[in-house]
């Protein structure tokens, strides 16, 4: 298909989408309106289960089964990236040389590392109380570890980051979520039902299974992001391109 034909197909599709979307929006409730039947019910259910953060209650209690699907997508995407970015036969691995780091950068990154790590763990632990949770906190924790790459160099990062261990952690987080769900079955309830005592509202132990599932997601996301970044950094820092005359490479 030539670029011209493609542009016409795009214009046609775009106009069709715009017309249908406008018609659909005309039928939507007005922006900022008062009619939120699902929202009202979700808030009521969250408060009944002593979970202060209604979003966490939706994610890890009322729609916990959906979140299982979503974290499986995450797991699958990490797995796919690991497979795609592995070192191939015609590639060489060159250990990176130590690189000089400006003193202020080093100082700042060293200072920021423990603080960031603590904030990440705090966000995971307080997911049922305040904005945050396993998804967000996990990303912060993973970012904290990579401050070492900025502060020192790639070899220092590799020392505190045995990728194999984090791959196991990723799988363990995914498995823990499933096991909590199965635990509910053993307790005689439905899969992923909130069977733990709800606790006192607005305390760290409130929300029943919500903090447990949050922790499982936190482990999975933190480990998953570390593994993802490790693969990309490997490509950028360590793995050399195959030579141009390699039998497989060189399309033309």
């Amino acid at each position: 298909m030539s670029r011209r034909v493609r542009a016409w197909v795009l214009v046609l599709g775009g106009l069709g989408f715009a017309a249908l979307f406008a018609a659909a929006c005309a039928g939507l409730p007005h922006f900022g309106g008062d009619l939120h039947p699902y929202g009202d019910r979700a808030v009521r259910a969250a408060l009944l289960r002593h979970t202060a953060n209604a979003v966490a209650s939706v994610n890890f209690d009322q729609r916990a089964f959906d979140t299982l699907g979503e974290e499986s997508i995450l797991f699958g995407a990490v797995l796919g990236t690991v497979v795609l970015l592995r070192q191939t036969r015609d590639e060489n691995r060159r250990p990176p040389a130590p690189a000089p780091v400006a003193a202020p950068v080093r100082r700042y990154a060293r200072l920021a590392l423990p603080v960031t790590l603590l904030i990440g763990l705090y966000i995971v632990a307080h997911g049922q109380l305040s904005p945050g949770g396993g998804f967000q906190g996990g990303v912060v924790v993973a970012t904290a570890l990579h401050l070492l790459y900025i502060a020192v160099d790639y070899r220092a990062l590799e020392r505190i980051r045995p990728v194999g261990l984090y791959e196991v952690g990723d799988a363990a987080g995914e498995a823990a979520y499933l096991l909590v769900g199965t635990g509910a079955l053993v307790a005689g309830a439905a899969f992923l039902a909130n069977v733990l005592p709800y606790g006192t509202f607005n305390t760290l132990s409130s929300g029943g299974t919500v903090p447990v599932l949050n922790a499982a997601i936190g482990v999975e996301v933190a480990c998953g992001v570390v593994v993802l970044l490790a693969r990309f950094l490997d490509q950028a820092v360590e793995i050399e391109d195959p030579p141009a005359d390699a039998p497989e490479g060189a399309a033309k």
């Binding site: 979307f21 929006c25 939120h36 969250a46 939706v58 995407a77 970015l85 607005n202 996301v221 399309a251």
Partner: protein, 123 residues
């Protein structure tokens, strides 16, 4: 605000979502660089965040988090769509990573990231 202004405000967020989606599609279809195309897909995805959050918004509403808000004292926005957006963002980030790793391998094997140059068959 007068009635016309109110009406325009009522559909503006939805229009922004539709516009973002169309712009993302335009970028995807006309892209000459796969990395750029992955970015365009992220723009398409951003349109769903805007749409979902617009649907869940309630005038004068605050976040549906009750650690410092007494339940019932203030209107809160819809937590269901916020939960959807949260997972949407996570999935978006990991899928972007997966696509970018595909681009890395394509760039290595074919020595190009222009999708138009990738049409030839190779055995």
């Amino acid at each position: 605000m007068n009635a016309i202004g109110e009406n325009a405000m009522g559909v503006l967020p939805y229009a922004v979502a539709g516009w973002l989606f169309l712009m993302g599609c335009y970028g995807l279809a006309t892209s000459r660089n796969l990395i750029h195309a992955v970015g365009c897909l992220a723009v398409c995805q951003a349109s769903t965040y805007v749409l979902l959050l617009a649907i869940g918004y309630r005038r004068g509403g605050t976040a549906p988090v009750f650690s410092d808000v007494t339940p019932g004292s203030r209107p809160v926005v819809d937590p269901v769509v916020q939960a959807l957006v949260l997972t949407d963002i996570v999935i978006g980030a990991t899928v972007t990573a997966l696509l970018l790793s595909l681009v890395i391998q394509i760039a290595k094997r074919h020595r190009t990231v222009d999708p138009d140059e990738l049409s030839e068959l190779r055995g």
